[in-house]
Amino acid sequence: MKNRLKLLRVERGWTQEQLGQALGVSRQAIIALETERHDPSLDLAYRIAATFQRPVEDIFENPHAK
């Protein structure tokens, strides 16, 4: 799933490790999300949205949007 996770993380000056700690996931999970090797669960997507204080749609592109 296309996303702006890396852009938002870099904008805030966070490392992958720091974002992982904020979200309660491993650095490997952050790398996988940023490189689109993992589609997050709804729970994780909302956690990410809450961490960046943005709606989910601002971070993840809806693959089903017409």
Partner: protein
């Protein structure tokens, strides 16, 4: 929230896997030596034959414990690698089993399946890096 130590280098999982593999290897070697030297037979042999099975069961417990503590990406990735490794092992044993039964191929001991499964698991890690 997950425990952040539950990455691929998770200590509890690493030690558990190492111990169960070591116990498996020692128990197989011990039974083989005992039988070949003739001092292991009868009910002690039957009892000793359970040991490799116990080592694999312990590995299952450590794996499920890791799955419970780790994050969704690592859980999905590990599960995918285990499924691939287990199915490749089943496939290899089925093919060899038919060759053994119908084509006179040399006997392949069933207890080797665990080691072969870990070989496929390690090999799958080189190719499976996505949870998708």
């Amino acid at each position: 929230m997950v425990n952040l130590e539950c990455g691929p280098r998770d200590t509890r999982y690493g030690w558990g896997t190492g111990l169960s593999m070591g116990f498996y290897g020692l128990s197989v070697a011990g039974v083989s030596v005992g039988v070949n030297q003739g001092w292991l037979h009868g009910w002690p042999l039957y009892a000793a034959s359970i040991l490799p099975g116990l080592a694999i069961t312990a590995q299952l417990v450590f794996t499920l414990d890791f799955f419970r503590r780790t994050d969704e990406f690592l859980r999905a990735l590990m599960a995918k690698r285990f499924i691939v490794a287990a199915c490749l092992t089943f496939a290899l044993w089925s093919v060899w089993g038919f060759l053994e039964t119908f084509a006179g191929a040399q006997h392949l001991p069933g207890w080797l399946a665990y080691a072969v499964m870990w070989f496929f698991f390690g090999a799958s890690a080189l190719f499976i890096k996505s949870s998708k």
